[in-house]
Symmetry: C3
């Protein structure tokens, strides 16, 4: 059974997602359609890219992932279809695909979707989710070859997360996501810390130490590496965003122990 996942900023209030599903099922009957996330805030490409990257790796080979966060719809931005790691990725050329489908990965191939014979006619200038990306995904789900969608492209727009800065025994990071529980997710990865032990995590005047391994209800705030490998600040009894009083783009500081030791 072919699988197509959908990640959009369309929300669930309107008919946008429903129309995309209709196109997919008309062109590839029996496809299993999986809603990854439709609550990406309007036009926030980075949140869309994070949602897709967090879930895509758990899907089977040959899954087609569609991501539509597309402020440039109707402009000259390209429409992309990518094959990498045995899966497919379809969406606008604005970076929304590139945390999951990283250019430079072995076997990465991208084409610009231009073969209008495979798309809806006429193509509207405001809803490429329905008219371009859904039919392109259905074509791939049916086993159609990537290169039939359009010419190969050499370079695509890449999304860059903010950089983690290092100063001897400190890492300076940023909150890049706030989840439904109010957990503050930062751009500091377990790999950034490597074998060094974390002494404490500082955010908005709060100093959290030591690192936790779970949402310990005995503590007001915990800092831990979450199930995706990101450093996260959480308030086990509620919302860290509310307790700490900060959100997206807030600074976070990680104190490392100067001596090497296994965390």
């Amino acid at each position: 059974v072919a699988v197509i996942t959908l990640t959009t900023d369309f929300g669930l209030y309107d008919s946008f997602v429903g129309a995309m599903k209709g196109v997919i099922l008309s062109r590839c009957p029996g496809t299993q359609i999986v809603d990854l996330c439709h609550e990406v805030p309007p036009q926030q490409i980075r949140i869309g890219a994070l949602r897709l990257a967090a879930a895509a790796r758990y899907f089977p080979a040959a899954t087609v992932h569609v991501a539509v966060v597309d402020p440039g719809v109707g402009s000259e931005r390209r429409a992309l279809a990518i094959e990498v790691g045995g899966q497919f990725f379809v969406g606008p050329d604005n970076g929304v695909l590139t945390l999951a489908a990283e250019p430079g990965t072995a076997g990465f191939r991208a084409v610009s979707i231009e073969n209008t014979a495979l798309l809806l006619t006429p193509i509207s200038q405001t809803f490429h989710g329905r008219d371009v990306f859904a039919p392109a995904a259905a074509f791939l789900a049916r086993g159609g070859p990537l290169q039939d969608l359009g010419p190969q492209v050499r370079s695509i727009v890449e999304l860059r997360l903010p950089t983690v800065y290092r100063e001897s025994t400190r890492l300076m990071g940023t909150v890049i996501d706030v989840d439904r529980f109010g957990n503050l997710i930062t751009n500091v990865r377990q790999a950034d810390v490597a074998a060094q032990a974390v002494e404490a995590v500082g955010i908005a005047g709060e100093r959290i130490a030591p690192l936790s391994h779970w949402y310990d209800p005995g503590r007001k705030l915990v800092a831990l590496f979450n199930s995706d490998g990101w450093l996260e600040v959480a308030a086990p009894a509620g919302s860290a965003a509310q307790v700490v009083g900060v959100g997206l783009d807030a600074s976070v500081e990680v104190e490392l122990r100067s001596d090497r030791s296994i965390a």
Copy 2:
């Protein structure tokens, strides 16, 4: 694979939609169930009708569309099953189906669902989505004949959208929908303008000219015919509803050029 779509005002907070899905899968195993929209505001039949009409056309032949926005549940209002255009439509007789399944269309057939042997027993007086519409849809998805559900009906309740008024070179329309992006969707269709060119669109003191073809980020407000053919006012960088300060039922005025020309 049989396909059943669901459009309701049940929201996703409760178990209403889940119970409907259970009934469908118990009575027609393997059905592909597609959520079209469950965030229709409580009892707003017109929004439900618009959601269904916008998406239904993209689904394959034989799809069964269920729409439950049903303030009259438990009263004498009929339960309908309709066949038209190769698809099926199931829901209360209050107009919610009739923008998608238009009476008068060639081949239109409607029956009143009264064959309780095909429904849940006992039928509750408050949840026909689960007890009447889901089992009727499952029956049709299994290939059951429409007429087995109940007697044919000659006339049903039709939903009428507000009328567009024309005065020589002006059209007077109404905002009939506001989407999640705050776009203001009016009842003026591309066909209302026909070959005449639109000079400008006026709404709440704003005059928008000329018409756009996309969400041009260089403009505060744009007016365009959207991907469903409705005239829409949008604020590319945010919400037109907020920028203009109006919402549902607001008046809109379309100035047409007096000389005939291709738009």
Copy 3:
């Protein structure tokens, strides 16, 4: 076709549900995944238990129901898989499963999920939905035997709803749920009233009489036994929670007629 339902407090804003679906489809391709409810308020086990119990009974035999409302994730609480009534239930041992899968029911069997060879490796300490419950459910959906997941357990944590108190001709109950329409759902069941007739229902100073059978638009407030058999207070034209001004945990009083009569 195997069916797995999902009930969580993960919401739809993040990637949690998407990651679970990926794991399920990787381990049991073709499974039909049904979202029962993801809007359980964070960590409200009772609401999760009510959602699951209201919908599970309508699903076909062999359905696997997964419920993840799990404030104790990462602690010593057990992970359970239960077989009862021809269906399966998977989730934390905190009561979230026990309104649907009642201990003491004939044929009830529960195991503690401990066979890590069947789960994701490594198991995170914060996301057992993805790493433990999804793979355990996929194993059952493939037809794997319950006992392979881990050792049988004799006693599990049971959720108790508040008790209904009886004083000769009065029942004292509690609001245990407020649905999206603002209907106030109480813990008084039709069976509590039995053959006695209800004289009136009192809540927050309002006295509602007689009982209704539907959402009668001619009345400001109605009291009725809803489609799941619970006593419910509703405002047909709006939200009873707003009209009455109370919510979860509010007291409700049912006056019974002293003479026996069929309601």
